[in-house]
């Protein structure tokens, strides 16, 4: 039975698809609302291979990537600065926690006023949300650097700058990756919501919304699956990069 183990993760998928077929076959739901899996996967395949869905997928990838890059480029240096000075962090902690707890979607109108109806708004709201998540994690990573390790570097004669670059930064990496993973997930959520509701002509969010408006259910499910695959893929990508570069994490 040992050979079965690698196949275990596939069981959930197979069961889900079988239940789906069963539901369609028994007509539990109106066939217009729940098309059979074959129609859906055909729509997904056609959409992603030269269809509109593929173009929208890439557009969402582009916005999410840009938002995450901007967020990381700002959050990592600022996070290190805040983490290095506990007093500075404590004085800003409430503000950071407050806005981190504020639903980013509530900020749409504000960003619309500032940036207008366009890519800038979607990307900047997503970047704003991801920024706070990454910032918080980087600062914590820096603050929670093992004291013994810092002391060890110091006792070996490392200057303050050397301790920061050789030890503190490395110590904060695992937590930074936690921030990046959460940040990119949040950025994707915000981008998709923004594409649905703030005057967009492309992107996965817009594709889902449009398919629903046109009652093109296989297309709508296909777009949802594409968005799911994107979220899963981004998370996986960061996990793999993390495992490669932060090999000591959790050990």
């Amino acid at each position: 039975m040992k050979w079965l183990e690698p196949l275990l993760p596939a069981i959930g998928v197979v069961v889900l698809i079988m239940l789906w077929y069963l539901a369609v076959w028994l007509r539990v739901v109106d066939p217009v609302l729940l098309p059979p899996p074959t129609d859906t996967f055909r729509a997904l395949w056609k959409g992603m291979n030269g269809g509109q869905l593929g173009a929208d997928f890439l557009k969402t990838v582009e916005r999410t990537t840009l938002a995450t890059l901007i967020a990381a480029a700002l959050a990592i240096p600022i996070g290190i600065l805040l983490g290095a000075s506990e007093k500075l962090y404590r004085s800003l902690e409430f503000v950071i926690d407050f806005f981190r707890s504020t639903p980013a979607s509530a900020m749409f109108p504000l960003f619309l006023v500032v940036f207008g109806v366009g890519d800038k708004t979607k990307i900047s709201v997503a970047a704003f949300g991801a920024f706070l998540v990454i910032l918080f994690n980087v600062a914590y990573g820096v603050m929670n650097a093992r004291k013994t390790r810092l002391l060890a570097a110091k006792v070996m004669g490392a200057s303050k700058l050397r301790v920061l670059t050789d030890v503190t930064l490395m110590e904060s990496l695992p937590q930074t990756f936690v921030g990046l993973r959460n940040g990119v997930s949040l950025a994707l959520v915000i981008v998709v919501v923004a594409e649905m509701f703030i005057g967009s002509s492309d992107g996965l969010g817009q594709r889902v919304f449009e398919a629903q408006q046109l009652f093109a259910m296989p297309d709508m499910y296909a777009a949802i699956f594409a968005a799911g695959a994107l979220g899963y893929g981004l998370n996986l990508l960061f996990l793999l990069v993390e495992r490669r570069f932060v090999h000591w994490s959790g050990k």
Binding site: K147, A152, M156, D166
Partner: protein, 276 residues
């Protein structure tokens, strides 16, 4: 600041105590008027101590008497309130020293391979890569270490990690070596093995060594002198000499001389504990 040659001093290959016969009348470390307080109680109040050159001194005393505080002040990890600590008349920043932490897991850098951990102090001193490698190789050969140094610390056992820590402290060819309860996080089997490793390091290098221990048997077994501290503010309760020849072995533990010294230390210790 650092000499280009690792382990440049003559190496004792026989069992004779290192430094024997050398003109070592002058103490290596002189501590005068050392004062240190935490919150509202004094740990050290005008404390004086001489640490002899080329000897292994164990520090032992009641819980909370400030064993680790003393070694940490000498090694500059925590500041002193008042007093002076000199090494051959020089301040700490002018000498080479090594420090081994109790918590090897948190003292090594897990993102560096074992060999890069050992080389790190040399890297800080801008010793070129080729020479760093050569010095590590020499140290490995010297100590007879059989560890795959390309591994990361988390891939090594606790004892191996602590051995890497000790090698990292030795790589700068220190004038003095500090160890703060280096084996207390290891299991008994590994502790016994590591004692032998440390004894070997000491016999081979003859480096002045200060060891904090919470195990009296270990403290006496490894020591030339056992420094017994009293409860706070700490004073020297006794400075016991134990001069059994090295290398010592398990048989040493049952020799009358060892038993006598250990019993005496325990006596002093108990007296200090009861006072507290």
């Amino acid at each position: 600041m650092v000499s280009g040659v690792a382990l440049a001093r003559p190496i004792a290959t026989t069992g004779a105590p290192p430094g024997e016969g050398a003109p070592c009348a002058a103490p290596h470390v002189t501590i005068r008027g050392l004062t240190k307080g935490f919150a509202d109680f004094l740990v050290y109040d005008r404390f004086d101590l001489d640490i002899p050159r080329g000897k292994l001194v164990s520090i032992f005393g009641p819980n909370g008497c400030g064993k680790s505080t003393l070694i940490n002040m000498i090694a500059g990890l925590i500041p002193v309130d008042a007093g002076e600590i000199l090494f051959d008349g020089k301040p700490l920043r002018d000498i080479r020293f090594g420090y081994v932490f109790q918590n090897y897991r948190e003292a090594l850098f897990p993102w560096l391979r074992a060999v890069d951990n050992i080389e790190y102090p040399l890297k800080l001193r801008q010793v070129p890569k080729r020479e760093r490698r050569a010095r590590v190789e020499r140290l490995v050969a010297h100590l007879g270490v059989k560890i795959d140094l390309r591994r990361y610390p988390y891939q090594l056992s606790g004892g191996q990690q602590q051995l890497i820590s000790i090698m990292r402290a030795l790589i700068v060819d220190p004038e003095i070596l500090f160890l703060d309860e280096p084996f207390s996080a290891l299991d008994y089997e590994m502790t016994l093995f590591m004692r032998e490793q440390l004894q070997r390091v000491f016999v081979e290098t003859g480096t002045t060594t200060v060891l904090v221990s919470h195990d009296l048997e270990e403290a006496v077994y490894l020591a030339d002198h056992v420094l017994l501290l009293s409860r706070g503010p700490a004073r020297v309760a006794d400075f016991v000499t134990y001069d059994a020849p090295r290398p010592r072995s398990d048989a040493t533990l049952s020799e009358p001389d060892f038993v006598r010294v250990k019993a005496h230390c325990l006596d002093v210790f108990q007296r200090e504990v009861r006072k507290g």
